[in-house]
Amino acid sequence: MKKRSRLSIKSDLGLQILALYSLFIVPIVVVALLFDNIAGKRLVQEIQSNDLALARAIAQETDSALSISLFAVEQLSTQPAVIAAAPTGMPQIFEQAYNLRPDVNLVYRLDENGTMVYHYPESPGSTVGNDFSFREYFQRALETRDPLVSLGRISPTTNQPVATAIMPIWEADQFLGVVGTNLKLQSLSDTLAAISTEYHPEEQFQIAILDAGGNVIASPNPAQILTDFATVAPGVAQALLGGEDGSQVEVSEQGEETLYSYVLVPGVGWGVVIARPSSVAFATPQNFHRGVLWMIAVFLGIGIFFWFALSLRVIRPVERLADYSRFMGGGLPMETGDVELLDRFSTRPDQIGHLIRSFKRMEVAIKARIEELGTLLETGAAVVSTLDSQVVLERILEQVERLLGVKQSIIVALDPERDVFRARASRGMSERYARSLEISPDEPTSVTMRAIRVGEPIQVRDTESDPSFAALRPRARAEGYRSMVAIPLKTTHAPASALIVYSPTPQVFNARELNLLSNFANQAAMAIENAELYARSDTRLQEQTRRLVALMQSLDLGLVLEDLDGKILYANRMVSELSGQPMEEIIGQPAQNWWQQITARVVEKTEGGKESEGKLEQLLAGTMQESCILPLQYAENLCYVRVKGFTVYDEARVELGRGQILQDITNDYELDRMKSSLVSTVSHELRTPLAAIKGYVTTLLADDVDWEVTRQQEFLSVILRETDRLTETVNNLLDMSRIEAGSLTLSQTACTLDDIILSAVEHVNRYLGRQVEIEIAPDLPLVHVDADCIEVVVRNLTENALKYSPDDQPVAVSASQVGDWVIVAVEDRGIGIPPDKAEDIFERFYRLENGLTRRKPGVGLGLAISRGFVQAHGGKIWIEPRSVGTRILFSIPIVDVEQLEKILHE
């Protein structure tokens, strides 16, 4: 499962609750901490000032006690006996003083040298006579006239710790020694002990009095007496020696914290120190502080506990549930651990458990639904993915079985040819049943027909009990079903159809199942419709394509289509003929290769042959729009092919490919060539005689040369001859144009052909001077002809025969009757006419292309005119194939007498 990478307060319920809890707790904790801080300080100050007050009180008391001692010693110093150090007076006075003061354990007098003069009590030990001038108080006494207190020490006389109240004795300016009383420090200590006990012993007060040297001179603890206090608390000792009051905490070497409060005793430089362990002294604020911390801890603990409880019992199940819902929605599958957890949660009796159980039930329902939808989608996809309706229908039945558990199903459709419903696809039915099933559309007992008629599904819950099914019961028993439902398919373009499902047990299909079946029925309908429509459009398309292909194949033009990669997509018959390659080989090969085969045939030495290849290259590349003409060599023939390129665009003017149209223009080309050669031939035929005429005429007219008479005669005869020649040519042209225009008028007379043939031959001989054999059959029948025209025909044929045969070879003209025709033949042994040109030579201006014909003058009109004339007489003109030379014949119909008379009458 995917963990959320970032905890966000917005998305996490646990965090939100935690935040809410903190909102309550944090102010309370803060207030408690503040209070703890402020109140704690107050308490500490109070404790310290309490201790100081106590110390002050003790200092006061000590001060007053010392004042009394000093006053007493001052009083003693005023006693004359004491001043005089008289041995007699002193014991009484001293005894009195001693007894008055319980805290004094010795009263004594030192002389001016410091020597003990007397002390009371005199026992147990006596130090009389001892020199005490070394004592610090003696030194100090030498310099003052006021009483003073010595430092604490062990008295050698009493052997007890004492401090001495000293009064120097002066008479005038003479120092007479001192009087002193030793104060028992023990008694101070006792006082302190009493004070200590006044307080609660648990507060562990320790009170000490220090002398001006920093030594302990009074303490409830006797062991401490006369010890240096600096060793216990150096800071305190130093502060006191510096003359300060105050409090401070010092840590002993053992690590114990002690609160010291200290106050100076004003008169004597002593100090009072009250010490107690910090733990005792500050017990209250510390307890309070501890209480606050406990409170915070408890709050935090409760918070954490609740949060854990909440997240474990609520948030975690909810989160799992969220994952689960995502999974149901098609997300990632859950981890097994999470699944187990969810299973555990689902056993809980509380609301969470209930919720998870609901979700699980929902999942099962959704899964089933999704499967149905998936199946329908799959079916839909199958419908659109194939046009084979059989496959789709079988698939649909398979899905019906899968989703509804239906083992038997069938799809029936109307067979329009036989007008019965037959099975289109079946599943689980016996093959015999499926094949033989035939339902007439008006069959009254058929459930299916009823369903189709009403357009709604119709169920039979139990075939055994349904009365309307009685007729079909045997069939149901044979096929083994007890209930069925027929769903009509909604088709508009295809014949009516229905989906029928069967169940082996009596059963009612519920609304959901019926709905599902309807869905399948719709899919099936779509498949049948698609297949039907496709079949129709396909047939049309195929028909259209066939026509187009036939059209393109039959075109006289070659058509090559290539795609953008230069591959030939289509080529028609003409293209295949031009390259001599079968169509299948052309299609698919690179266009360039195909064109190479064409350009290989280009005849470079012809007119435009060389440039044509360059032009073609440009044309194929699409850089030239004009067409180009390729002279191509095919075996013996020269072919002219015009190539024109074009680009194929789709409707959006996007280039799809290119194409070329090839047109065989050999005939046009030949015609063009013939036309231009005609012009030059006619020009030549007209201008050559003209040139001779003009030349000789100008020659005769020129006066710079005198020509002999014979020359002049010669020139004139040439002029005459050339004029005749010119006339003949012009006549020919005129005849031809008359024939062409159909305006030829014949002035026909009934005659035989003998005279005409003889006249023609004679005319020819006049110029050419060659013998022509004439063979005319006797008693030729009459014909009805224009004699001039026929004479021209015979003359033309004879002239041609002479022109195109060697001078020594004979030319024969013959005439005979064959059936209803008179046939005239002109025969030579000349160059002959190729059989394939036997028709062409009768075309006007046609001249055979070879060296010999070109050498002979002529326009190429003779035979054309001859044919025109013969045809105008209702005859024919033709060539008979010969191995050597030429035999041209023409026929003229014979006129019978009746017809002749009729003609004569007219």
Partner: protein, 232 residues
């Protein structure tokens, strides 16, 4: 001046005799042939100063004959033809004919052309006596004394008419010359309307002296008017 020798070629005996009689009558020496092959045979054997040739002939026509003659001779050639179309004339001129006479023609025209051709041939040799012996324009140097043309220092072969035309244009460089003016100056006073002659000759000159004959640098055309030599 002694008369020149003329070779007359025509397959029409009438026309051939007409030309021959007239030339011989005026003192020219003539040879005749009735087709191209015959003409070439005579041309090889005899010293011919002028060829008069028909175009439409069997056994090697006139055009092919011109081409063969031009392979190694600059002899003046006058073409006789029944075809008067411009294309026919240009075709003949392109092959190297000097003049073109369309049939029919009178004896006067024939003689004038024969003399003009002779005159042009004489002129090109007569320019030896010019004052300045050299004409130089750009990379083209015409040595009038030696009667030769150098382009980029390379010797270029020109026919007499080509040479005369080039010299005429160069001498008038920068001036626009009409077709008529050029024809009358180079071909002779009888000429003036034969603009196609100029097209052929200028074209041939461009092929010989221009770096890029399609985009001439020197020999410029003034369309419908004439030509001029660009003075650089």
């Amino acid at each position: 001046m002694s008369k020149i020798t003329v070779l007359v070629v025509d397959d029409e005996k009438a026309l051939l005799d007409f030309v021959r009689h007239n030339l011989e009558g005026r003192g020219y020496k003539t040879f005749t042939a009735t087709n191209g092959l015959e003409a070439l045979a005579i041309f090889k054997q005899e010293v011919i100063d002028l060829v008069i040739l028909d175009v439409m002939m069997p056994d090697m026509n006139g055009l092919e004959t011109i081409r063969r003659i031009r392979e190694n001779s600059t002899v003046p050639i006058v073409v006789l033809s029944a075809l008067g179309e411009e294309n026919d004339k240009i075709q003949a001129l392109n092959l190297g004919a000097d003049d073109y006479l369309t049939k029919p023609f009178g004896v006067g025209e024939l003689l004038a052309r024969v003399e003009a051709v002779q005159r042009r041939a004489r002129w090109s040799s007569a320019s030896q006596v010019q004052d300045h012996s050299q004409l130089v324009h750009g990379e083209i140097m015409v040595d009038l004394t030696m009667h030769r043309v150098l382009v980029h220092g390379q010797l270029v072969e020109l026919t007499p008419t080509e040479f005369n035309l080039l010299v005429y244009l160069m001498e008038n460089s920068g001036r626009l010359l009409t077709h008529e003016a050029i024809l009358k100056s180079i071909w002779g006073p009888e000429y003036g309307r034969e603009a196609e002659y100029l097209r052929v000759y200028i074209g041939r000159l461009r092929q010989k002296i221009e770096n890029d004959p399609v985009n001439p640098q020197y020999l410029k055309t003034a369309h419908g008017y004439g030509y001029y030599f660009e003075s650089l």
